[in-house]
């Protein structure tokens, strides 16, 4: 409980303190404190008269009619007890009180001359002044925090613009403008070391300097002007009496610049420039927090410069091939599209040459990657030299290169370039002390009105290159009308293939695999067919390569696996007392390297309940010679599922035995081309004999493909081959038919 007697002043002070504490800006606190004090003391007016600033806040005067001169004069005399104000009734009693420090100013309260301020009231006012000073000090700290916050926000915005990859000039302009704005000065500039003039700097960005003046100071000596000094001394430079400074810039002095402050800007630690703010205000002093702010801006500029250089490098890296330094596919396509556009306007043609080294894999495999890389670099050099400067040469990856030739008047122009390139391959490549002759196949596509975009042009050149390969390599082919028709057909198939999946147009045929020992069916190879609504039944060769190119091989592969496994399970149900039959499914190289393949196989097994050892996955050699880790890892993971891995078409590729060992395969299939010559071509017989013997040694099951005659069958038996498939035993047949022949076959084939 509070006693009323004598506590009025302390209660008023408590109220005052509570009121003043609620304001959050300096201005509001000043106004609020005056009101509260005047209210408590029934004052007619109250004012804060600042040190050298005049009246900073007042109440009790009509708006726009504050008697500033009289109040200032009164505030000068601390002991004064009365004051006359113009146009007001008699004089006023006043009391004048110092705030905490002279910078805050003095508090004046005035009231009717009949009611002078008593001692208790003066004590109260002194108490209020103290409380108020404390509040102002707190608010000053708050203001400083707000300034800091503003600085941080501005820097953060600039940082964001840097990380968004904004243009360096835009970023530098933002930094310069931000520094000027934060310090409330009109002039700011950034100097960077002059690229062509050693010992000089150049203004890279500026605000508040008129154009003619800017021109006169744009280039400057290191050590001259605030910025030049900051660069020379590698530290913050503050000039607060600009005209008198020995290193001031004459045009700026003449322009009445009063003060300048500059902070060094660095790139990777080295001084490369300076950020300067300057003032036309006489007597301008830069506060400690302003100095810190400028250093912070300069630091941001340093980061921006360093980042910009990195971005420029990254930009180059992103469009260039790391190994050869040639353009990469991205840059090449960009150039092609630009060239196409300008060719259309002129009108001229452009040509794209698609080049692929012959037998590059062989080099890589037999001589090692680093030699392969050396060869690719050597090829890049030859291509550069074989071409005119305006032409673009790019590496698309692997051993694929592309050349853009602009301003082509006829196909002959393009074929001349191809001949020049092929001519440059006539000399051997010197690789690690060895000489190696390398050839290349080139496809050429020349733009004409029919070509809409660069992608099509490159695709055409690629198709022509394949033609060159198939015609014996080491040559070039022009993309022509026939190839165009084929390309169109492929495009058509592509779109139809999408439809095929959706409409269930795919089906599986099963070709029996039989035991050459007793003639019993051991299983079947599942072969996918496309029951095309217009073209009839299409074999895998007609659409699987396209499906691989356009990525449809994955869903098709999933469907094939699932369907084949389900079918094999059905066979088991119908032949409970006999040996279970296996089913073989082809996996393309692309499927093997697909990250989902293991999961796909596992799903197919789990969904159908087929025992893993009854599933044979047939893979091609090309899947094995992929260099990447993924296919290798996938094959190992597949083996761990318990399925059998079989090498398809053995003998057609490199037929390297190392693959058989490295991947611990379960078996191989002898290509039909060897089976064909059995009993006719002694070489083929020898090869089959060798392969069979070798496979036996490695514990691999050998299956002969393409057995069409009884003679071939008995020859294979003689050579020790245990399994075979071919028309002699049965063509690929629908599932229902295969089920019917299971068990019937042995009697026919025995």
């Amino acid at each position: 409980m509070v006693q009323s007697g004598g506590s009025w002043a302390s209660q008023q002070l408590a109220e005052f303190a509570a009121t003043v504490a609620e304001f959050d800006t300096r201005h509001a606190a000043q106004q609020g404190a005056l009101e509260r004090a005047a209210e408590a003391l029934d004052a007619d007016f109250a004012a804060i008269v600042g040190h050298g600033e005049g009246v900073v806040a007042s109440i009790g005067f009509p708006a726009g009619a504050v008697p500033a001169a009289e109040l200032r004069a009164a505030a000068g005399e601390i002991g004064r007890t009365h004051v006359d104000l113009p146009g007001r009734r008699p004089r006023f009693s006043v009391t004048i009180t110092n705030l905490e420090n002279p910078e805050m100013g003095r508090l004046i309260l005035g009231r009717d001359i009949e009611e002078p301020f008593g001692e208790e009231e003066r004590n109260l006012i002194r108490g209020m002044a103290r409380v108020f000073s404390l509040a102002l000090r707190t608010l000053a700290t708050l203001d400083e925090l707000r300034e800091r916050q503003a600085l941080l926000e501005r820097l953060s915005r600039i940082q964001q613009s840097i990380s968004r990859g904004s243009d360096l000039q835009v970023t530098l302009d933002a930094i310069v403008a931000g520094a000027a704005e934060l310090m409330a000065e009109p002039v700011a500039a950034m100097r960077l070391l002059h690229r062509e003039r050693p010992g000089y700097t150049r203004i890279a960005s500026a605000v508040g300097v008129p154009e003619p003046l800017l021109e006169s100071i744009r280039d400057g000596r290191i050590g001259s002007g605030a910025g030049g000094l900051a660069i020379a001394q590698d530290e913050l430079v503050v000039i607060e009496s600009y005209g008198d400074h020995p290193e001031s810039l004459a045009p700026m002095s003449a322009h009445a610049l009063q003060a300048a402050m500059s902070a060094p800007v660095r790139e990777r630690g080295e001084v490369v420039g300076a950020l300067t703010v300057a003032s036309y205000t006489q007597g301008r002093r830069f506060t400690a927090s302003e100095r810190e702010a400028l250093l912070a801006f300069a630091e941001t500029a340093s980061l921006a410069l360093t980042d910009a250089r990195m971005v420029a490098n990254a930009m180059h890296d992103s469009v260039h091939d790391a190994l050869t330094g040639l353009a990469n596919r991205v840059l090449f396509m960009d150039r092609v599209n630009h060239a196409l556009e300008s060719a259309r306007r002129r009108p001229r043609s452009i040509a794209v040459l698609f080049l692929d080294l012959d037998n590059f894999k062989l080099v890589n495999d037999s001589m090692g990657h680093s030699v392969g890389d050396d060869l690719l670099m050597g090829v890049a050099d030859r291509l550069r030299h074989a071409l005119k400067t305006g032409d673009t040469v790019a590496r698309f990856g692997g051993d694929e290169f592309a050349v853009l030739v602009e301003d082509v008047r006829s196909e002959a122009d393009a074929t001349k370039v191809a001949e020049r390139i092929l001519g440059s391959f006539a000399r051997p490549f010197a690789l690690r002390g060895r000489e190696l002759f390398v050839t290349a196949s080139i496809g050429i596509a020349v733009s004409d009105l029919g070509v809409q975009d660069g992608e099509a042009l490159v695709r055409n050149a690629d198709a022509a290159m394949y033609r060159a390969k198939s015609r014996g390599r080491a040559g070039y082919e022009l993309f022509d009308e026939l190839m165009r028709a084929r390309v169109l057909q492929r495009l058509e198939i592509e779109s139809e293939l999408h439809r095929a999946l959706a409409r269930d147009e795919l089906e599986l045929a099963y070709q029996p695999v039989v035991s050459l020992t007793d003639g019993k069916v051991l299983g079947a190879e599942a072969l996918v067919r496309w029951n095309h609504p217009e073209r009839g039944l299409l074999s895998p060769g007609h659409f699987i390569p396209i499906a691989e190119e356009v990525g449809l091989i994955v869903p098709i592969g999933e469907w094939v696996l699932r369907t084949a496994c389900r079918e094999a399970v059905m066979w088991g149900h119908e032949r409970l007392d006999e040996l279970p039959l296996s089913v073989a499914v082809n996996l393309s190289a692309r499927q093997v390297s697909n990250p989902r393949v293991v999961q796909t196989v596992r799903n197919a097994l789990e969904m159908t309940g087929l025992q893993p050892q009854l599933l044979e996955l047939e893979i091609t050699e090309s899947a094995l010679i992929e260099e990447a880790d993924r296919p290798r890892d996938n094959l190992h993971a597949l083996r761990e599922l318990g399925v059998k891995l079989v090498l398809d078409d053995f003998g057609t590729g490199y037929s390297s035995l190392t693959y058989l060992k490295r991947f611990a395969l379960d078996g191989l299939k002898i290509d039909r081309s060897f089976t064909d010559g059995l009993g006719v071509d002694p070489d083929d017989t020898a090869i089959v004999s060798a392969v069979t013997g070798m496979a036996k040694g490695l514990g691999l099951a050998v299956t002969a493909e393409g057995v069409e005659t009884e003679a071939q069958r008995s020859e294979l038996r003689r050579l020790g081959c245990r399994r075979a498939q071919g028309y002699h035993f049965g063509r690929p047949m629908p599932a229902r038919e295969f089920r019917r022949v299971i068990g019937a076959l042995p009697s026919r084939a025995a």
Partner: protein, 394 residues
């Protein structure tokens, strides 16, 4: 060359009333009686909001032949012959001795202080007068009225006294109206700057007495008093005043409002006189009190009560103070801004209050029962509750 005038400037004040329910006839009757001479400068209209104000106000204004008009809706009207309800009262200020300017501040609820300042700015006299006062009639339901007063004060300064009241709506507490010339406004402050070559006096008294010892406001938020002496404000308030149980139990506003109407808080002042804060309501769950004006944290307060005798004594004192301020000049008329709560205390004795006002000065009286009173002659505190403010012109 200057020439001394042979005759003193002429000023006159007259009041007319009407209880005719028809707005045009009421305007005719009241304005007709008030417009005793041709040269009216200002009409002040206080009207019950039982009238069709949109018809009434232009009708009164039209009668004034170019005289400015300010006014507002009321919670009861006051005139020379007594208090009334559902009536109108018109006071006319005329003659070359008066200068008048009127204005308004809009959107009070959006920014109280700005509206107060705008009203004062727009009601600026064309030339300086020896004696001035700024009359403010505000939307009494707009919240912290002290801010309106401060806004006006920031424009006119301490040399111009502020006087006036908050418009009412016959205690419906829904919405109030302010009148400016022929227009009816809402959410506004209307102002009339009155300049005169004779003195203008203002008297302020409330007539409440302290109950018990003072307390410290230990928790407040604007107009809400949360704790007194660190205890829930509503508990302290009801206990100390010995309020009957049903006041707290009955959560409908009526019982509490009636009780609170005669039991304000008094804020400690330098002069030893209290500044009255009417208790407007209570939050029975939060156990807090809400007032019609700010109650600062840390303030020293008393609970207060009054009776017929103390209220009538205040009437005499307020009128006396206003007349004293005329410096011996004969009063021409009085305007009274009387809190509705005082009428509740007086009950049937209310006629006695108005009779006293009229008899002390033998001049016409006009006024209204308000939702808050404005009077600032000293210092800054210019908003009052449950108080009588009297303006006397000579």
């Amino acid at each position: 060359m200057t020439m001394a005038m042979g005759l003193p400037p002429h000023r006159w004040v007259a009041v007319g009333t009407s209880a005719d329910p028809h707005p045009v006839r009421a305007a005719e009757e009241a304005a007709g009686a008030a417009l005793r001479h041709e040269d009216a400068r200002l009409l002040v209209l206080f009207a019950s909001d039982s009238y069709d104000l949109e018809t009434l106000v232009p009708a009164v204004h039209a009668r004034g032949r170019g005289a400015k008009l300010v006014g507002c809706s009321t919670a009861g009207e006051i005139a020379t012959d007594g208090p009334a309800q559902a009536s109108i009262v018109v006071a006319a200020f005329g003659g070359p001795g008066f200068s008048v300017a009127t204005g308004a501040g809009r959107e009070v609820t959006r920014d109280l202080r700005a509206a107060g300042a705008e009203a004062a700015r727009t009601a600026r006299l064309e030339h300086d007068c020896e004696h001035t006062a700024l009359m403010l009639l505000t939307d009494g339901l707009a919240g912290g009225q002290q801010e309106i007063v401060r806004g006006a004060f920031s424009v006119v300064g301490s040399a111009t006294p502020l006087v006036g009241g908050c418009a009412g709506d016959d205690f419906k507490m829904e919405s109030t109206h302010q009148f400016l010339d022929g227009r009816v406004l809402r959410d506004s402050v209307v102002a009339a700057a009155i300049g005169s070559d004779a003195p203008i006096g203002i008297g302020v008294r409330h007539g409440w007495r302290r109950v018990g010892s003072p307390m410290v406001v230990t928790g407040s938020r604007g107009t809400h008093v949360l704790t007194l002496d660190d205890r829930p404000a509503l508990d302290v308030y009801l206990e100390r005043l010995g309020a009957p149980d049903h006041i707290d139990r009955d959560r409908g506003r009526a019982a509490f409002s009636r009780f609170a109407g005669t039991h304000p808080l008094g804020l400690s002042r330098r002069t030893g006189e209290e500044h009255v804060r009417a208790v407007a309501g209570a939050d029975h769950d939060e156990r807090s009190l809400s007032c019609f004006a700010d109650v600062p944290n840390g303030a020293l307060v008393w609970l207060m009560e009054g009776d017929e005798e103390s209220v009538l004594a205040a009437t005499d004192a307020a009128a006396g103070a206003a007349l004293d301020a005329l410096g011996g000049c004969k009063p021409l008329g009085l305007l009274a801004f009387d809190c509705i709560a005082r009428r509740d205390v007086l009950g049937s004795s209310i006629k006695a209050e108005v009779d006293r006002l009229a008899s002390v000065c033998e001049a016409p009286v006009a006024g209204f029962y308000t939702y808050g009173e404005i009077a600032r002659t000293r210092g800054l505190a210019g908003f009052h509750n449950q108080t009588l403010v009297v303006l006397a012109v000579a």
